[in-house]
């Protein structure tokens, strides 16, 4: 772990309201969708402040945030904040974890992991394990290319304002799945 006083990357989850409720779910997911947000910190910035005030480096709808959280811990991430956010008039809530990732490579691994995970409809422990192992062992060069591609696509596609931008970005993860023969 690099100097913990000066972490480079941090991530958090935010629930954003869906345009119309998704009836497949009955809890918070019925009305909201979780987004994962990654932030880059400058020297001396405090993660909690940055999350409040600045634009994320990349943010996209994430699925299986429990696994994303677990993987962050596995990468040496540190949970520095956890607020319970109540959703008005619905009686539901969620935990907003703020996690600081120890270094850039961890951030990239995590980004690629959450991207891939978000393309699954169903995810169990065994699949999570195999994906985790692939991510942990992935060559840093490939990792750099793939994650940079995702960030670039995010920046290009977001400004177009098309509602399908996320699908185009998630293609990076789908390519990864093809590459590693994951189904």
């Amino acid at each position: 772990m690099t100097d913990s006083k000066n972490p480079l990357y941090t991530l958090t989850f935010t629930a954003r309201k869906r345009r119309r409720p998704y009836n497949r779910y009955s809890g918070i997911l019925r009305t909201h969708r979780f987004y994962i947000e990654y932030y880059r910190l400058l020297d001396g910035q405090k993660p909690l402040e940055v999350i409040e005030k600045s634009e994320p480096l990349i943010a996209f709808p994430v699925r299986f945030k429990e696994f994303a959280l677990e993987f962050a811990r596995e990468l040496g991430g540190e949970v520095i904040g956890n607020r319970r956010i109540e959703i008005a008039r619905s009686g539901t809530y969620y935990d907003k974890h703020v996690i600081v990732l120890p270094n850039e490579i961890a951030f990239r691994r995590h980004l690629l992991f959450t991207l891939t995970v978000s393309t699954y409809r169903n995810l169990g422990e065994a699949r999570f394990n195999s994906l985790k192992n692939i991510m942990l062992a992935m060559n840093a060069n490939l990792l750099n290319i793939m994650s940079t591609m995702a960030i670039d696509r995010y920046n290009e596609l977001r400004i177009t304002g098309k509602p399908t931008w996320m699908w185009y970005m998630l293609r990076v993860a789908r390519a990864l799945k093809v590459l590693y023969r994951l189904d």
């Binding site: 009836n23 699925r63 429990e66 696994f67 169903n122 995810l123 169990g124 422990e125 394990n129």
Partner: protein, 1190 residues
């Protein structure tokens, strides 16, 4: 047919003095045991093989000088007076020489021909016949017998040990021959100088000497005589040359050679080169290169059966034949499995066993392979020894534990569990590389014990102490067969030294089946069990193929490797692997890859299922699902965490090995421990521990790589043996695969044992149901669903009535009064902890809702809009289409258009919204259409004309529109109230669209109603007026027929209610006066005091109406004035509630009150009297029927 154990054996076998290593010298000197030294006894025990017979006959021919003879149809030719008997140790040479010695001695000593012939007949009829034929000639020759047994100095002298006779010192074999044949002087010089004799000298000695010369153990003479080997060799060469001369007569020389002859070249057998010098091989080669040397191999392989029969059993050939016949006829009448029957027939067992009885053909085969294949054993001698020990072991009852009835000596009867047999026979003199087989034997087959201990063991003891550990846990039948098969495989492996390159030495599956046949057991099945449990058993080929070869190898067992690797496997890895197993299980398929199509059949209730290790990692995407979800835990779960997960989620079902605080964990059953070797150390532990242990083994096996195997066998295989290494690796890989299969199977076994309970949340706590049983090849959700159906948690079917009963019983609402919100009801089912609600899929729930809707008992309200009976486009459609489905279709369409879901739907009992609905329907009838109803009895009515029991008629009928060609519209102005006995004028306007001609209107009133005039004529629009009068109050109808000539344009019915006349009166409550009829209708209530406010507001709250009036309060603090004009009783109540505070604040002195309440509907006096508390001074205006109907 007797049991083998009851067959008599010869005495010397019983007392173990049969010592088959007979010695020619002993016989000559008379020191041999009786059964060898006595010719008759000896003949009885000798099976004369074809080659022995030919040896005897040829010796006679040489002596008699006959070159060709025919004995019992077979012609014998002899080409040389020198006969060589080549064979390895124990091949029967010495026996043959003794036989020759006995025959010639018998012939010499017998005075009577018959006496000699009868004795020879015991031996062999052909020999007896030959002797009888040439008796005279033989007697005239009176053959001398010269025996040179090189083991003894007095029978084969050398310079080291000369013989001194009559002043002579005989120092060589040739000197001895010369002396014995009375021609010593010919070879005297060569003898005394120790040089080899010349050919002509030898010829002179031997030619015409009328002698039979038997030379045994010539090999030893090289080493012991003290002569230079070359000299002995030259002697042999010269001897051969001399005797192969055509002219040589009346002499027969027989020399035994301790080597096997193949194509006239001697080969030093394995192990033999250590005993004899290479010179010997060379010399004998030279001798054999002479063209005219007779070579007779005394014993050939196929003679073994007869030799053993004669040597061991007392029964004669004919008796054995009879027993064999009995055996065959009995066995042939039995039923055998196809595999056994086929092998027996293919191998010609029934023909074969007749010859070999009481030995199984495979017994002889194994015996032969042992004695020929194991270089350190003596062929005939050790074969006999093993056979004798086998028979003795049988007779001693050592096999009683394995078999009840022994009708053949089987290959597995070779008593390898008797340590004496093993040490003294099978492994005696064995080189070091064979000793490892002792270990293999102990680990895979049997544990050897000494004879005395074995005798004491008994059946149970035998199972416990003799049979190898791996085999003990099998079922008794399988264990017995397993031991037999393993014994046979072990013996063969010993021959091939367990090396893959000797693959030909090992038995095939078919061989093995044959070796234990006839048997009614499933041999292949047991072999497959052996394959997975015996650590060092290896197969070469496909496991199920008939030609696969089976053997034990001397490489260390794979189990050891697995044990080593297992140490590195952590619990976490085991749990990960378990998760993987369970995830396969969710799909219900074996191994990785896409499941076959038929497995796609999933559960109908569970929309999703997931495997997780802890509650924390259950994804929100799963726990938040609306439909039932199955969560499978790959670990033990703490009870409070599980409660946290399941609380408020009645649709979550958890499957876990154990939940702390909710259920106890099962202990490993003894049969688990007995059935799975790897669990032996886990007695008293839980099944969960057992599962993890097996998983660790599975992971270790899975992790075995080629590199592992290479380094593992690297120590055994030296350099330059790549071919061998490759073979070995191939075999080991197969072994690893079979191990993996074994662990896979047992993992599922243990998963089945561990996952017995299903957990769910109801009534505020975690419930569990026990008894679910997982299988490897059926999807887990399907299994759990079936299980929960059995337990009634998932209802057999979920119908509309189920919804009604949930509302009634759990929500305590009356569905006939209160509306049912579908979304709320679903949320209730999902999250209540007040009721034991069933587990249903949302789809099924909605289907039940649709079911309710289809019954037409409930109307649907969506966003204020009421949907009920559908209106069909035509009568035909109404007849053919189901009303319910049509309505459901309409609702779905409506929801789609609004972008709403079924959750937004409200069910309302039809009676509650009937009026609202009817209003809507009637107001939306298009101009050009008539809304008609086809009632239960099939009558078709215009809906406007249904006046009586309207609700029921409509509920039970079907509605449809009918097109009007000439829509008739009648506008009437009927007074709001019509009273009896009064005349009213009604104006009407009648319009007929699309009709320009004149038409008639006819009014037909009910009895009691008079209408004037009744007929009109005109064109559209037609305005008419008519008078109407009824003498009595009642509901009247007037039929209106609009027609043009005979053509009926439209028929309608007008309803006219006629009331009695009312008289308005006023009364002040509290005053005395006339009594008021209860049925009187209240017109207004007027309050003029402050405390009347409360009374009026109470009435107004119960019966809606308008409130008007004024309120002025004046006091010291000022004046408050209030104008009231409202329909809302609450306002009055509010005012009234604060009136006291206002009075106090104002310090009120006077109050001026006038409040009037007028009910909006009809209100009877009797209704309000119950509401009043203190009505004194209230003025009530009311009306009564003029006639005073009371």
């Amino acid at each position: 047919m007797p049991d083998i154990r009851s067959l008599d054996v010869r005495d010397e076998i019983m007392n173990l003095s049969y010592e088959p290593a007979v010695n020619l010298g002993d016989v000559v000197k008379g020191s041999a045991p009786g059964f060898i030294g006595d010719p008759v006894e000896f003949f009885g025990r000798t099976h004369v093989t074809d080659s022995m017979k030919s040896l005897v006959i040829k010796a006679f021919m040489n002596l008699l000088g006959i070159k060709s003879v025919t004995v019992s149809g077979k012609q014998y030719n002899v080409s040389s007076s020198l006969i060589l008997l080549p064979s390895d140790l124990g091949g029967g040479k010495t026996h043959s020489l003794i036989l020759l010695y006995h025959i010639f001695k018998l012939v010499n000593q017998s005075g009577e021909k018959d006496d000699a012939v009868s004795k020879l007949e015991i031996l062999d009829k052909d020999i007896a016949e030959l002797v009888s034929r040439y008796w005279e000639k033989i007697k005239s020759i009176a053959p001398k017998i010269v025996v040179a047994d090189c083991r003894y100095s007095d029978l084969a002298p050398g310079p080291a040990r000369p013989i001194r006779i009559a002043g002579r010192e005989i120092k060589t074999l040739w000197g001895y021959l010369g002396y014995e044949l009375g021609k010593y002087e010919v070879v005297e010089k060569a003898d005394s100088m120790g040089t080899a004799p010349y050919v002509d000298d030898l010829l002179a000695v031997l030619d015409g000497s009328r002698a039979i010369v038997l030379i045994d153990e010539i090999g030893r003479y090289y080493d012991m005589s003290g002569l230079e080997p070359t000299k002995v060799s030259v002697f042999l060469m010269n001897l051969a040359e001399a005797l192969s001369k055509y002219t040589v007569r009346e002499v027969a020389v027989v020399i035994s050679v301790p080597y096997d002859v193949e194509e006239k070249r001697v080969e030093a057998g394995a192990g033999m080169e250590y005993i004899h010098k290479p010179e010997l091989v060379r010399a004998i080669n030279k001798v054999l290169n002479r063209p005219n040397v007779e070579i007779v191999k005394p014993v050939r392989r196929f003679d073994l059966a007869e030799i053993l029969q004669k040597r061991i059993f007392r029964a004669s050939n004919t008796e054995l034949d009879q027993f064999a016949t009995e055996f065959i006829s009995r066995e042939l009448s039995r039923e055998y499995p196809v595999q056994v029957r086929k092998v027996l027939d293919d191998r010609g067992f029934w023909r074969e066993v007749r010859k070999t009885y009481p030995f199984h053909p495979m017994f002889l085969n194994v015996l032969e392979k042992l004695s020929y294949g194991l270089g350190y054993l003596q062929k005939t001698r050790d074969a006999i020894k093993i056979a004798v020990q086998t028979v003795l072991a049988l007779k001693e009852g050592l096999f009683d534990a394995l078999e009840d009835e022994i009708s053949l000596v089987m290959p597995y009867h070779i008593p390898i569990f008797v340590s004496e047999t093993l040490d003294e026979t099978i492994l005696r003199n064995a080189p070091n590389e064979y000793l490892v087989f002792n270990l293999i034997l102990k680990n895979n087959v049997v544990i050897p014990h000494n004879f005395t201990k074995l005798k004491k063991l008994g059946k149970e003891g035998f199972y416990k102490e003799v049979i190898a550990r791996e085999l003990r846990n099998l079922k008794e039948d399988e264990m017995k067969l397993g031991v037999k098969l393993a014994s046979i495989i072990w013996l063969h492996s010993l021959i091939g030294l367990g090396l893959p390159m000797n693959i030909g030495d090992y038995p095939t599956t078919i061989d093995l089946i044959y070796s234990v046949s006839p048997t009614d057991q499933d041999v292949k099945g047991v072999l497959n069990i052996l394959r997975s449990i015996l650590p060092q058993l290896i197969i070469h080929g496909e496991p199920d193929s008939d030609t696969t070869r089976w053997f034990f190898t001397r490489i260390p067992s794979i189990d050891d490797l697995i044990d080593i690797l297992k140490k590195n496997v952590t619990d976490e890895m085991a749990k990960d692997k378990l998760a993987e197993f369970l995830e396969w299980g969710l799909l219900g398929k074996k191994g990785r890859g896409r499941p076959p199509k038929e497995w796609r059949k999933g559960s109908t209730v569970f929309s999703s299922s997931v495997v997780v290790k802890s509650v924390r990692s259950v994804p929100g995407e799963v726990s938040g699902l609306r439909d039932p979800v199955l969560v499978v835990f790959a670990d033990i779960v703490p009870g409070d965490e599980l409660l946290g997960l399941l609380k408020g989620r009645n649709n979550l079902i958890a499957l876990a090995p154990s939940v702390i605080g909710v259920s106890e964990m099962d202990q490993l059953a003894p049969e688990d421990i007995a059935g799975i070797r790897e669990l032996a150390g886990l007695e008293g532990k839980s099944v969960w521990d057992g599962l993890l242990e097996i998983l660790r083994y599975y992971i270790a096996t899975e992790h075995i790589s080629e590199a592992n195997l290479k380094s593992f066998v690297g120590d055994i295989v030296g350099k330059g043996e790549e071919e061998y290494l490759k073979d070995l690796l191939e075999l080991l890989k197969n072994k690893v695969d079979s191990k993996k299969d074994y662990f896979y199977k047992n993992t599922w076994n243990m998963i089945n044992r561990s996952y017995r309970r299903v957990y769910y949340h109801r009534l505020g706590r975690v419930f569990s149901e026990e008894g679910v049983s997982l299988e490897s090849d059926k999807p887990i959700p399907v299994i759990v669903e079936e299980f929960l159906r059995d337990k009634k948690l998932i209802p057999e079917e979920f119908k509309g009535t189920n919804i009604e009963s949930i509302v009634k019983n759990y929500l305590n609402k009356d569905p006939k009064k209160d509306p049912i919100g579908i979304g709320e009801l679903w949320t209730f089912i999902l999250s209540t902890d007040k009721a034991k609600v069933p587990l249903v899929a949302y789809k099924d729930f909605i289907n039940a809702v649709k079911d309710l809707i289809k019954s037409m008992d409930y109307a649907v309200r969506i966003d204020g809009e009421v949907l009920w009976k559908p209106i069909f486009k035509s009568e035909v459609e109404a007849e053919t289409t189901d009303e319910g489905s049509k309505l459901v279709g309409l609702i779905a369409e409506y929801l789609r258009r609004l972008g709403k879901s079924w959750d937004d739907v409200q069910l309302v009992y039809w009676e509650n919204v009937f009026d609202e609905w009817l209003n809507k329907v009637t107001s939306s009838i298009p101009d050009n259409k008539v809304l008609k109803i086809k009632d239960r009895s099939g009558r078709i009515l215009d809906i406007r004309d249904v006046k009586f029991s309207l609700k029921d008629t409509i509920k039970s009928g079907k509605l449809f529109y009918e097109e009007k060609k000439y829509p008739v519209e009648i506008k009437l102005n009927i007074p709001e109230e019509m009273l009896e006995g009064k005349e009213y004028v009604i104006n009407a306007e009648i319009t007929v669209k699309n009709f320009d001609e004149e038409f008639n209107v006819k009014l037909i009133p009910d009895n009691g109603l008079s209408v004037e005039p009744r007929e009109f004529k005109g064109r559209s629009p037609l305005s008419v007026g008519f008078k109407i009068r009824a003498e009595k109050a009642g509901d009247y109808q007037v039929a209106v027929k609009v027609h043009s000539g005979d053509f009926n344009l439209d028929s309608r019915v007008i309803s006219i209610p006629v009331k009695g006349e009312w008289i308005e009166k006023t009364l002040v409550i509290g005053d005395k006066g006339e009594s008021v009829d209860d049925d009187a209708r209240v017109v207004a209530i007027i309050g003029e005091e402050i405390n009347h406010l409360a009374e009026i507001s109470r009435v107004a709250k119960s019966f809606p109406g308008s409130i008007t009036g004024k309120l002025t309060l004046s006091g010291e603090a000022g004046v408050l004035s209030l104008n009231i004009d409202t329909d809302n009783a609450d306002l009055l109540e509010l005012t009234e509630g604060h009136i006291n505070s206002i009075r106090n604040s104002l310090k009120m002195k006077t109050a001026d009150v006038y409040i009037e309440y007028a009910p909006s509907g009809e209100l009877r006096i009797r209704d309000i009297t119950s509401v009043f508390v203190n009505p004194k001074g209230l003025k009530v205006k009311f009306k009564v029927k003029a006639g005073g109907s009371s």
